[in-house]
């Protein structure tokens, strides 16, 4: 059916038709200025966001002579992957010239249990605060939120003294505890908000069914916490993977994470700076959190919606 036919059938109600085409069917999709503006803004913003990563990638593919020319934005004249290989395998940090690779496994060793334990702790906190509040629980929570504002370094001395007095200083458990401590405020906040939005009837039903604190948590609440857990995992993985300060002090030499080597490669003050290797090393170090971001970005927004917007 065309517009013309309709006009023929319905002449009576036709309003004076200025343009010659009677409005019929879907509104013609004008490519409106607004739409172009939206995309223009987003693209410009995206370019702004991509500047550093562009510089990093381009630089990492250049040889040192090309870098000395100083044309930061130019594409590599003779692309080379040598810096990447160097960064991963050969770059020196002190005596050892094994690149980043040895630290990678340490980072994994630190990150996995830290993320796991900190999320378990925080989710239990959120759950207890929401469904089993005892006297003073909310005061504790307030203290925790206060802790979120404390610059890490302020409590580093007491932490060192405390951990060494229980013999956990400079050990894997030590660093895991530290990450758990500093992840706790924000994660607890997220989980608490998330659980607060769960219908309390679910909790009551489980209690009537005879389930106790732990069973309700593990069988009912935890399986429902996927969206917020995704957010927590992303936050923690990026935070812990990128951490240098705690890793170098609390992990002990045997467990030094990748960032220590990255710092050694990047921050060497005397001697030639190999910027291409630096950039390659940086991208390699960031690869894990970035990967997690790209895989779960969609759930991130959704999870945030579940845990951050209310309250």
């Amino acid at each position: 059916m065309t517009a013309g036919q309709i006009t023929a059938i319905q002449p009576v109600q036709e309003a004076p038709d200025q343009a010659g085409v009677a409005p019929f069917g879907p509104k013609p999709r004008r490519i409106s200025a607004g739409r172009i503006g939206i995309y223009a803004f987003l693209v410009v913003a995206a370019l702004f966001f991509l500047i550093p990563v562009y510089i990093m990638i381009v630089t990492s593919l250049k040889g040192m002579p090309e870098i000395r020319l100083g044309h930061l934005f130019n594409l590599p004249g003779e692309p080379t992957f040598q810096p990447w290989a160097d960064a991963w395998r050969h770059a020196c940090t002190g005596r050892d010239c094994n690149g980043l690779s040895p630290g990678f496994y340490n980072s994994v060793k630190i990150t996995l249990p830290s993320v796991f334990i900190s999320i378990i702790c925080a989710s239990i906190n959120g759950y207890a605060l929401t469904f089993w509040p005892y006297k003073g629980a909310n005061l504790l929570f307030g203290l925790l939120v206060f802790g979120a504002f404390v610059p890490y370094q302020v409590v580093i001395y007491p932490l060192i003294i405390g951990l060494s007095s229980v013999g956990l200083f400079a050990s894997l458990p030590g660093i895991i505890i530290v990450h758990t401590i500093f992840g706790m405020p924000i994660l607890t906040l997220l989980f608490r908000n998330f659980y607060a939005a769960i219908p309390v009837e679910l909790f009551k039903a489980a209690r009537v069914d005879g389930a106790g604190f732990w069973r309700i948590f593990f069988h009912i609440m935890l399986p429902m916490s996927v969206p917020i857990t995704v957010v927590a995992v992303i936050l923690q993985v990026t935070g812990i993977w990128n951490d240098f300060l705690f890793g170098v002090v609390f992990a002990g030499r045997a467990n030094w994470p990748m960032t220590v080597q990255l710092n050694n490669i990047v921050n060497t003050t005397t001697g030639v700076r190999e910027y291409n290797v630096n950039m390659a090393a940086t991208i390699l170090t960031a690869a894990v959190p970035l990967l997690i971001y790209f895989i779960s970005g969609r759930w991130f927004v959704r999870g945030i919606a579940a845990g951050a917007v209310k309250g």
Binding site: C92, R95, V248, V249, R253, N264, T269, T270, G271
Partner: protein, 394 residues
């Protein structure tokens, strides 16, 4: 016995140097092993050491700079007393100049091992730049300041400097200028007696005024530049002159340049009055409460200062050995200059760090950096502030 050593020798040249220590220690015949813990950036490495000490897990040994950074470690009883090793090795005889030894010799006990001498008192310049600008190569700072406008006219940067790390490059320049302006004796007096009078005197004002003048001859990219990029400006002939310690020589060498035709070096800021500062690196040993480990620590201490290791290390590092009885004939012309200068005690300048605490040091860094960055700050203001900091330091 395994011995963990924390240091910030992370660059290629440095790691080659530190490998000399490690190799010697690993092969000392006692089954020792050097466990290498490199952490880039001196301040990061140092604070890690401090935190490890606080946590009761100190490393076996750690790199430090001579100065007052480890005062509290000594008074807190955290360090291993090396006096017996020193006596056996006759350290007080072989180590020269005396000033370098005194960094470790406190109250008659040896608390650390000096391993090299670095002098901050150098200016490096590009011969082609001076040629291009048609001015003679400088013999002192005044020469340079006179020549600078010409270089600027030639479209080049007369004076190269960088402002990274709280402005330590500027502070280094500044300290050189202070020594130059006050003379070694007056300078030492100012720092030892914390004399606000000298610090606020006309010579100091002159230093600040000259600093402001030098600022006019920098480019506007200096703000965050680190020292090797600064050196690179001189190497590539973009800038005329840089004031930097002797480690800059490594950069020139790495770029394939020789001190004969490509670049020049000025010892001190005045060739007529050569000076060598006694900065450098030292190694501290921490008490472990374990006789075996302490024996290994002492073995390492003795090894570090032994002639063969000294030569191997300092050749790799490009610094001067702490003992005069070793053969350094392979060193380049600039090094030869300082090896010559160091023989005369009159040319020795004690490192500033030895007089002032790190707290004061950083305050000075900031003052100088701020003065350098902020053109609205007058030389009078700066001098007054300088006097306050010196006067109230401890």
């Amino acid at each position: 016995t395994d011995l963990e050593v924390i240091h910030w020798w992370t660059s290629k040249g440095e790691s080659a140097a530190v490998s000399q220590f490690a190799k010697a220690f690993d092969n000392d015949g006692h089954g020792d092993r050097w466990v290498d813990s490199a952490i880039a950036l001196g301040e990061t490495a140092r604070s890690t050491v401090m935190q490890r000490v606080l946590g009761g897990d100190p490393p076996g040994a750690a790199q430090f700079n001579p100065g007052r950074q480890y005062e509290e470690l000594i008074s807190g009883g955290k360090l291993l007393d090396l006096t017996d090793v020193a006596t056996a090795g006759k350290w007080d005889e072989v180590i020269r100049p005396k000033a370098i030894g005194s960094a470790c010799l406190v109250d008659g006990h040896w608390w650390c091992v000096p391993v090299n001498i670095h002098s901050n008192y150098w200016a490096w310049y590009s011969k082609p730049v001076f040629e291009k600008a048609g001015v003679p190569e400088p013999k002192n700072l005044a020469d340079f300041i006179a020549a600078a406008p010409k270089i600027k006219e030639a479209g080049l940067i007369p004076f190269a400097i960088g402002g990274d790390g709280n402005g330590w490059q500027i502070q280094l320049l500044f300290q050189d200028m202070v020594t130059e302006a006050l003379g070694v004796a007056q300078r030492d007096k100012m720092y030892t007696t914390k004399s606000a009078e000298i610090a606020g005197g006309p010579e100091m004002k002159g230093v600040f005024t000259q600093l402001r003048t030098l600022k006019q001859f920098t480019d506007n990219g200096y703000a965050n530049r680190n020292w090797n990029d600064t050196t690179n400006l001189v190497i590539t002939g973009k800038a005329g002159l840089q004031v930097m310690g002797d480690w800059a020589r490594g950069e020139f060498a790495a770029a394939g340049m020789t001190g004969v035709k490509d670049f020049g070096c000025m010892i001190g800021l005045n060739e007529a009055k050569p000076v060598v500062s006694t900065d450098g690196d030292i190694i501290l040993f921490f008490k472990q409460g374990n006789a075996d480990v302490e024996a290994a620590q002492k073995r390492l201490a003795a090894l570090l200062i032994s002639p063969e290791v000294q030569v191997a290390f300092n050749n790799a590092k490009g610094s001067m050995p702490v003992r005069g009885d070793v053969d350094m004939s392979t060193a380049d012309p600039c090094m030869q200059k300082s090896l010559k200068a160091v023989e005369d005690p009159a040319n020795i300048v004690t490192a500033t760090n030895r007089f002032i605490t790190e707290n004061t040091n950083q305050q000075l860094n900031e003052l100088v950096a701020q003065f350098f960055a902020d053109d609205s700050m007058t030389a009078d203001d700066a001098t007054a502030k300088f006097a306050t900091i010196i006067g109230s330091s401890d």
